[in-house]
């Protein structure tokens, strides 16, 4: 695809006006055009939530799975055809609540996937309940007295779980988001990008203004190969204290690179082979 328009479908986005998902959609399309991601080399997977609708608005082959289950589907795709760029769109409730286990294990295996978390601190498609990234005390339909739980930290979780590329971006900064999506995809191994995404309709705390006032970019002095430093930076959150950028990036063979069966070709390059069992049968006689 050489033009953004070629990536458009005839489906009009169903998100609320001003939704952070529009920015993520734009950044992704920019990145796709820049890098030539098309239907011969790229596949998208999403879970269920506001984020999942994105698949209807990008003319790239995709799999709309179940709530929380985008990562295992993406893993299966990558193992079957590791030459594809495999993107996993997930929500914070979807990927950190329902599917948290899959994220942890995909990180530790270092599958060559690009995981983009649409992190709005809420279950918005179900009209605004507290999600795993909502702050303590947060009032929502499911927590009218204030959220009794403390939030999960997606960046720290991904680093601790073994992801080899971990970044955080603020959705509205489309050029930066485009750049990070490209870098995440170019990274060989598990890339997790936590995208801070305002929800105008239901989240009155994590607004554009909040993120504009409180985020800052990690400087050139940040050393992304130092896990301890990355982890320490990941703990920062608060007034003018939300770091953005690449926290952690190290070179390590991906799961797929390490698998002998995938050295020469993909699993699907040859048609399934009707195998001769003569030798195997001998083991049972």
């Amino acid at each position: 695809m050489s033009k953004i328009e070629e990536l458009n479908t005839n489906i009009f986005p169903t998100w609320c006006p001003g939704c952070g998902n529009f920015a993520i959609l734009s950044a992704f399309k920019n990145a796709a055009v820049q890098k030539g991601w098309d239907n011969s080399n790229t596949v998208l997977v999403a879970g269920i939530g506001c984020h999942g609708n994105i698949l209807n608005f990008i003319k790239l082959t995709s799999f709309e799975g179940l709530h929380g289950r985008s990562i295992p589907v993406a893993t299966g795709i990558k193992l079957a055809n590791h030459r594809l760029n495999v993107f996993c769109f997930m929500g914070d409730g979807d990927g950190l609540g329902e599917g948290g286990n899959h994220l942890v294990h995909a990180c530790r295996r270092n599958h060559d996937l690009t995981v983009l978390i649409h992190d709005n601190g809420l279950y918005s498609l179900t009209t605004g309940q507290t999600s795993p990234t909502a702050p303590h005390g947060f009032k929502s339909k499911s927590t009218p007295l204030g959220n009794p739980d403390y939030p999960v930290n997606p960046v720290a979780l991904a680093i601790a779980s073994g992801s080899t590329f971990v970044a955080r971006v603020y959705a509205a900064n489309i050029p930066k988001l485009t750049e990070i999506i490209i870098k995440a995809n170019e990274h060989k191994g598990m890339s997790v990008v936590d995208i801070l995404q305002p929800c105008f309709t239901f989240n009155k705390e994590y607004t554009n203004q909040f993120y504009q006032q409180n985020t800052y970019w990690l400087g050139e002095d940040h050393d992304p190969i130092n896990k301890e430093v990355a982890f320490k930076k990941a703990q920062e959150w608060g007034e003018k204290q939300i770091p953005l950028g690449i926290f952690y990036q190290v070179e390590k063979p991906s799961f797929e690179e390490d698998l002998p069966q995938l050295k020469e070709k993909t699993l699907i390059e040859d048609a399934p082979l009707q195998r001769d069992l003569t030798e195997l049968f001998k083991k049972y006689s």
Partner: protein, 573 residues
């Protein structure tokens, strides 16, 4: 001796003593000596301690069931001798460790006792505790006048990768056991093993082996399987051969991941499967419907054990039939098959892959634990009649491609990602292109389309049930799963009894079943579950209510003896 005579040998010991491997070797020995084999294993869910037994049933003719009686008991410990004494036939034999302190006082005088210094001879052979098994095997071979050379060959093959010393020690142990019997009991030997014609090479394998081998034969490319008894044997075999044969087995973090990974790989074009037991299948239920809705081919094998919850982890059950037929919200086309023995498990696994591809939907294969883990002997399977059928599938760019386009048979052309075709494989209600939709008429049309596939399958793939025995009989058994072997064996002696064995559960051969049952004068349903799930299905599909049900839900199999008791009871009426 009559050719149809079945000999039963039971080997027992505590978990960790190697009962299973000794039993397997003895059954391979018997198969190489010309016999047919049916093994039956009982063990608790423990790694050490606990009581393990394996029964090897052998006959010059086909043998397909466990037996309630034993002709030879090989007691590797005291508990085995105590526990299984009541099962012994009148002139049975017990081989036990001379030094085990086994109290022979309570053994009937007709039983022949063979006290062998198993541990002492194992010490002499090298000292390793597990050598006791090889001593015992050598002794059994001598006792029933077998060819020690065959046992030596089997030991050589078994220990080929484990070092010369271990191989030599085991051979020596077998020799010592063999010599001890020959020297001390020369007048008491029974000529069993020498009489069989050796015939063609036979395999001794169980249902887990058969599923894995069937998948390999059918061109498996990807499997994601989380361990669970009694189906873990499938993954063990698949994991072992993956590098050499070029497919991928992946151990996932849970069964939810297993089924979603397999769906992802299948969506990308790979022949994919997963397997589990009922508890794991419970976790897979949302993925089951996902494969149905996205029209992704998938083979799911459920190795059944008694439930609910943890149930009996290492025992057999047939309680997942209605679960596999009903699991998941809403309707979607599901093909559900049940294997009756190891060979059927092999054939149906291969067929399941073709049907998953052809109908682009999940295929569940049910096998109960008694098939998963009990070996039977067969001539080498002939896979040449099989051919891989992938159905409507393209890897190239199509003009104006619609993934879910309407078609009379319900099957649309499936493309894979990377083929240049844009589409969404969508779990949400969707249009022909795969876009999410809320439109009532589109939703309705797509539902009709996917359900049409089941009709196509009924028309083009479904097979009629098998009727064993005479076409008309005074008594007809209806059953499924591993009960097949016991019923088949039991009805051989009764010319007025037949048996309807069901494999296709969905689509269901309602007409054929109805016809067979309407002809029957008296019907007995045989199942290993509490509620008679097959009987319920038959009633739903044919309106026929089977009143006499033999139901068992204690994890144990139906023995041919119990089936015969039932025949006699019914015939009296």
């Amino acid at each position: 001796m009559e050719n149809s005579q079945i000999y039963s040998i039971k080997i027992g010991g505590q978990a960790g003593q190697g009962v299973k491997s000794a039993g397997l070797m003895l059954s391979k020995f018997a198969a190489r000596s010309g016999f047919n084999i049916f093994n039956y294993t009982e063990y608790p869910s423990l790694i050490r301690g606990g009581h393990n037994v394996m029964q090897i049933n052998l006959s010059a003719e086909e043998v397909s069931a466990p037996s309630k009686r034993d002709d030879l008991l090989v007691a590797l410990n005291q508990e085995t001798a105590d526990k299984h004494l009541p099962e012994l036939t009148e002139a049975a034999e017990i081989l036990f460790d001379q030094d085990s302190g086994f109290d022979t006082g309570k053994v009937s005088s007709q039983i022949r006792l063979f006290a062998v210094p198993l541990s002492r001879l194992a010490d002499e052979a090298g000292g390793n505790d597990l050598l006791v098994n090889s001593v015992a095997l050598g002794a059994v071979v001598a006792l029933w006048d077998g060819d020690l050379g065959i046992l030596h060959d089997l030991l050589a093959a078994e220990y080929a990768d484990k070092g010369q010393q271990l191989m030599d020690e085991n051979k020596k142990a077998a020799q010592l056991g063999y010599d001890f019997i020959k020297e001390n009991f020369a007048d008491k030997l029974k000529q069993v093993f020498r009489v069989g014609e050796k015939g063609a090479t036979k395999m001794v394998l169980n249902g887990n082996d058969a599923v894995a081998l069937g998948a390999i034969a059918a061109g498996l490319q990807f499997a994601a399987i989380y361990p669970m008894s009694p189906a873990s044997g499938i993954l063990h075999t698949l994991a072992l051969h993956q590098e050499q044969l070029g497919y991928v087995y992946k151990q996932p973090e849970d069964e939810i991941s297993a089924i979603n990974m397999a769906i992802g790989a299948s969506f990308a074009g790979a022949r994919s499967m997963t397997s589990t037991s009922g508890g794991g299948f419970s976790l897979m239920v949302e993925g089951y419907g996902l494969a149905g809705m996205t029209e992704t081919p998938l083979v799911i094998v459920d190795g059944m054990r008694p439930g609910p919850a943890t149930g009996l982890a290492t025992w057999s059950g047939q309680g997942d039939l209605l679960f596999a037929l009903r699991a998941h919200q809403g309707d979607f086309p599901r093909i559900v098959l049940a294997a009756g023995d190891v060979k059927e498990a092999f054939d149906l696994t291969m067929e399941a892959f073709n049907m998953a591809d052809r109908y682009q939907t999940p295929v569940v294969l049910l096998i109960d634990k008694n098939i998963c883990e009990d070996e039977q002997s067969y001539p080498l399977f002939d896979v040449s009649p099989y051919s891989i059928e992938r159905g409507k599938l393209t890897f190239s760019t199509q003009d104006n491609y619609h993934r879910y386009s309407s078609s009379e048979d319900g099957i649309s052309l499936r493309a894979v990602p990377g083929s240049g075709n844009f589409f969404i494989a969508n779990s949400y209600a969707h249009t022909e292109e795969g876009f999410t939709t809320e439109e009532g008429n589109v939703t309705q049309e797509q539902m009709k389309k996917i359900m049409a596939k089941l009709e196509t399958c009924r028309r083009e793939s479904m097979k009629a049930p098998q009727l064993f025995g005479p076409p008309e009989a005074d008594l007809t058994f209806v059953s499924w799963g591993s009960n097949k072997g016991s019923i088949q064996q039991a009805i051989k002696k009764y010319p007025n009894v037949n048996f309807l064995h069901l494999i296709w559960m969905n689509p269901f051969p309602a007409e054929a079943v109805k016809e067979a049952l309407e002809k029957a004068r008296y019907v007995v349903d045989v199942e290993c579950n509490f509620s008679g799930q097959l009987a319920a299905l038959i009633r739903e599909k044919t309106g026929i209510d089977i009143l006499d049900k033999m139901l068992k839900y204690d994890g144990r199999p139906f023995y041919p003896e119990e089936i015969e008791d039932k025949i006699r009871e019914v015939m009296k009426q």
